[in-house]
């Protein structure tokens, strides 16, 4: 199925995936996304044929009798005549359309089935909870003490079926990682599910696809598909508690973090900071971005973000905290240790 897909990508539509976007419905790195490509091309082919027929008909119809130099007036008694050929054409056209559409409906049905059946036996279970405007990620394990909580970044082992449970804490969001699969809404008071089967490694980008308020735009997440061993390594490291601060600067930052506003919302495992309403920061420094994909993670952006999140993500729930420069220095120094 997917090999076919990849061969097909070389076809006219190839250019879409050619400029390999990491948030691209034509990526095809997930089973469902690969199915999408195949089905999309099938639809495209059938539709193209129909469209060309219409254009051809229209073109000929317009050329045909335009220049026939009759009097520019309606023929009183023949303006309702219709040739037999046209009647036949109508029947043919109707048949053609019906057949074409039936093909498409059936194709769609089977593609849907394949998506549904693809990942019955899932090897990994996640719960993703939508919040305005970030993603809470929980790796569910039979042994609760081995479950990892993180935010705005998902790591997945390649070729392992994943079952994702989707919940929302506030409004409706939609989970969408186009390279892997289609959308699924996160609806408050309901529980929805989506199955992922990543087929190729890579770093992909996902984004909330249902308008969810002021910062709908800045509600993205990174998805890293990696070999099983790398995934295990990452998981073990995420499971560990945050390292203790070492330098004096880091100590100061730690003190600020656990005693001031930060800890009212954020959790750092292994520290007294136990806030549950903001992203878990235990290993924030190991992630790729901050502010749910607002900025790539690096020292400069950390400074900018902590100093004034509201200028990077206006309306975000993270307030701009009036802060002395030295507090800012120490805080950044501490957060950089949260690997």
């Amino acid at each position: 199925m997917t090999r076919l897909a990849h061969r097909l990508i070389a076809l006219p539509l190839g250019f879409l995936s050619a400029c390999a976007g990491n948030q691209n419905a034509m990526g095809g790195q997930g089973l469902e996304s690969a199915n999408f490509i195949v089905l999309f091309l099938v639809f495209l082919a059938v539709c193209a044929v129909m469209y060309l027929l219409v254009l051809a008909g229209l073109g000929i119809a317009l050329r045909r009798r335009r220049d026939a130099g009759q009097a520019n007036s309606v023929d009183e008694d023949r303006h309702e005549e219709t040739s037999a050929r046209t009647k036949v054409a109508l029947i043919v056209w109707t048949g053609l359309v019906t057949v074409g559409l039936t093909i498409l409906t059936v194709a769609s049905f089977f593609s849907d089935r394949s998506n549904a059946s693809s990942t019955r036996r899932s090897g990994l279970a996640l719960t993703i909870t939508g919040n305005q405007w970030w993603w809470n990620v929980q790796y569910d394990t039979s042994d609760p003490s081995a479950s990892v909580r993180t935010a705005n970044e998902i790591h997945l082992p390649v070729n392992v079926p994943v079952h994702v449970t989707l919940k929302s804490n506030d409004v409706i969001h939609s989970f969408w990682v186009p390279n892997l699969a289609g959308k699924q809404d996160l609806i408050p008071g309901r529980q929805t599910d989506i199955e992922l089967l990543p087929r190729r490694t890579g770093v992909f980008h996902g984004q909330c696809a249902e308008f969810c308020g002021v910062q709908h735009t800045r509600m993205a997440l990174d998805v890293i598909v990696e070999p099983l061993d790398d995934f295990r390594r990452w998981y073990a490291q995420q499971l560990a508690t945050a390292p203790a601060p070492t330098t004096r600067l880091q100590m100061a930052g730690y003190r600020y973090f656990v005693t001031r506003e930060c800890s009212s919302c954020h959790n750092v495992a292994g520290s007294p900071a136990g806030g549950q309403i903001g992203p878990d920061l235990t290993h924030v420094a190991s992630r790729r971005s901050i502010g749910a994909g607002t900025l790539p993670l690096n020292r400069g952006n950390l400074y900018g973000w902590i100093a004034d999140p509201q200028s990077h993500k206006p309306g975000s729930r993270m307030p701009t905290i009036p802060m002395e420069p030295r507090d800012l220095h120490s805080l950044v120094a501490y957060i950089e240790t949260l690997k």
């Binding site: 609760p144 508690t241 800890s263």
Partner: protein, 619 residues
């Protein structure tokens, strides 16, 4: 023929007349060993530490009366026949307006009254008329502590031992006071209110150790039981309710009765990472002690937060019963009554130690307890094995207890889901029965359970953890269960495993029971009625309206004059009374963690107060 009938009649008349006369002369004084019921003594539970009337010293030195927590007074002066003559002997006003749960203690000719917040202690001289104050002790706890006390700044009493009074202060201190002078002997800080920890329980003193547990299950604290040296107040050992085995004091001698509670570091493995550190399992209830086995028995509180979705796993060692060796503090056995508790069903209720009839005719040292989750458990207190577990109240949230695995069956439909309100869950968060202990009378062999008939609607949501602030994550509305009565007073036969009689009380029952050898049982209601009922059939024999609602522990003692006295504290408060004492606005049904909805009418039925009433038969 005719004659024989006449004879029979005559005999009957004579017998009844005689009986009546004897009664009147007060000769008929039933002893605990007597048969009041036709049932054979062998088929009745017996007090763990058998006392007969002679053994009764007439004192009341600890809130539960004895290590077996029977709340049974061997005094027999008061009987169903004469109790209706009870009069007020004297009263004592503490001048306080908070919930009054602590019982007075009586040692010889002195009564010690531990007043509600700020927990002043008064020594009253019972030898003098009107029981004037001998001395007063003012501990002056920190007022800030009131802000982290989930259910009113209550205190469940002091304990007298070897010339000292030991009591806990809300702000995390345990103090020892010289019983003769009222001077403070030592004061040890054991709990930290910054973390939300408070102390509300009554300590237990045994083998020279003062046993203290913390409160704050709604504040994201980590529960523990601490043993202090009674002499110095120094810490002997501390056993946590969560965390690694070395913190919980689990050693090689740990023998849980069921596989589900066996394993290494369950206090960590049954929690999401780090959550055990704020997982509750507080110890704010009652401790029993078996001097023979040298084991203490107590229950642990609810896991936190109430929103169970935030703590997947069984959440050991919360909501269960622990047996610890009093010397080392090591856990001997543990049974988790409510694994992964989703309804705030603490297991801190009293554990009564009795001798239970064995099938082979012998006696099993048993532990019987009316649990918060609505089941009446009978354990073999040596191993923790369950002999029986039967519902004693209306339950629709649990299916039952599997005696083979010890598992509690949860009704899926009643399990709270984030973002959706689940309706009509019985019992509610205070459980079928809250802290207020029951009494056991070896005379009748019955357990007298003052409990609740409350159901709830529950909506859970993500709880945020900020040290020193509530960590609950649930909206709750409580209301009366089937029948419309919010309280029930049940007499339970632990051997026959059935209800003998029950009294429906309109208001929730928040006051403990008191049983006497005379065959009279006492309890109070939240609108201030203090009631005496017949231990055999629950017939109301006498009642007295006190100044404020009764949530306190009644006691019975023999005064210096040799008469039997009954004393009861009167002063509404606590969780159930918060509507009155905490100025709740009942337009918000979720106020006071949902109790406001169940006690909307309370402000009309009682007001604040703080008074000890002492009753006796007229001279």
């Amino acid at each position: 023929m005719k004659r024989s009938i006449a004879t029979l009649l005559a005999i009957a008349v004579l017998i009844s007349l005689g009986a009546f006369l004897l009664r009147g002369l007060g000769i008929d004084t039933p002893k605990p060993t007597n048969e009041l019921r036709t049932a054979n003594a062998a088929h009745r539970a017996r007090a763990a530490l058998p006392r007969d009337a002679a053994a009764e010293d007439g004192n009341w030195t600890m809130p539960s009366k004895d290590y077996a927590s029977t709340r049974f007074s061997g005094l027999t002066e008061l009987t169903p026949a004469n109790v209706s003559g009870l009069n007020v002997a004297f009263t004592f006003s503490t001048g306080t307006v908070e919930g009054f749960e602590a019982p007075p203690l009586v040692v010889g000719s002195t009564m010690y009254v531990v007043a509600p917040w700020p927990n002043n202690v008064y020594a009253l001289d019972l030898a003098k008329p009107g029981a004037p104050v001998k001395w007063t002790y003012e501990p002056r706890p920190a007022a800030a502590a009131k802000g982290v006390a989930c259910c009113g700044p209550v205190n469940r009493g002091a304990v007298y031992s070897a010339g000292r009074l030991f009591l806990n202060l809300l702000d995390g201190h345990t103090v020892a006071v010289d019983a003769a002078t009222g001077k403070e002997v030592w004061r040890t800080k054991v709990a930290d209110i910054q973390k939300g920890e408070t102390l509300t329980m009554a300590p237990l003193v045994a083998e020279g150790k003062v046993l203290v547990g913390n409160s704050g299950g709604e504040m994201g604290v980590r529960g523990w039981l601490t043993a202090l040296d009674a002499g110095s107040g120094r810490l002997a050992w501390r056993g946590y309710s969560t965390g690694p085995d070395k913190d919980v004091l689990i050693g090689p001698d740990y023998r849980p009765p069921y596989a589900k509670d066996a394993g290494h570091d369950l206090g960590v493995k049954s929690w999401p990472p780090e959550r055990w550190k704020i997982g509750g399992g507080t110890v704010w209830g009652w401790i029993s002690y078996d001097p023979k086995l040298k084991l203490i028995y107590y229950g642990t509180g609810n896991p936190g937060p109430w929103n169970a979705a935030q703590r997947p796993g069984a959440n050991h060692f919360t909501a269960g019963v622990l047996a610890r060796d009093i010397g080392s503090g090591h856990v001997r056995w543990y049974y988790q009554s409510t694994p992964h508790d989703v309804f705030d069903h603490d297991d801190i209720n009293e554990n009564l130690l009795v001798e239970y009839p064995a099938p082979n005719g012998g006696r099993i040292p048993a532990l019987i307890r009316p649990s918060r989750n609505g089941f009446f458990y009978v354990h073999d207190r040596r191993t923790g094995k369950i002999l029986s577990a039967d519902p004693y109240a209306h339950i629709n949230a649990y299916t039952g207890v599997d005696l083979k695995t010890g598992a509690l069956g949860l009704v899926k439909a009643k399990e709270p889901v984030e973002g959706r309100v689940v309706r009509n869950i019985c019992p509610g968060p205070p459980g079928a029965k809250d802290w207020n202990p029951s009494a056991f009378s070896p005379v009748t062999g019955l357990v007298y359970i003052p409990h609740l008939n409350l159901c709830m609607d529950m909506g859970v949501k993500n709880a945020n953890y900020i040290p020193g602030t509530p960590f609950v994550g649930a909206d709750v509305k409580m209301y009366a269960g089937p029948g419309g009565n919010r309280g029930v007073f049940t007499a339970w036969d632990p051997v026959a495993r059935r209800k003998v009689f029950e009294i429906k009380e309109d208001l929730p029952l928040w006051s403990p029971a008191l049983a006497t050898a005379g065959g009279v049982v006492f309890y109070g209601t939240m609108d201030g009625w203090f009631k005496a009922i017949d231990a055999r059939n629950g017939k109301l024999l006498w009642r007295f309206k006190t100044g404020s609602g009764i949530i306190g522990q009644p006691i019975s003692y023999r005064g210096p004059d040799g008469r039997q006295y009954i004393a009861v504290p009167s002063g509404i408060g606590g969780w159930a009374g918060a509507v009155v004492t905490a100025d709740i606005d009942t337009r918000d049904p979720t106020a006071a963690l949902g109790f406001a909805n169940a006690t909307k009418d309370l402000p009309k039925r009682t007001t604040r107060g703080g008074m000890v009433y002492v009753f006796a038969l007229p001279k």
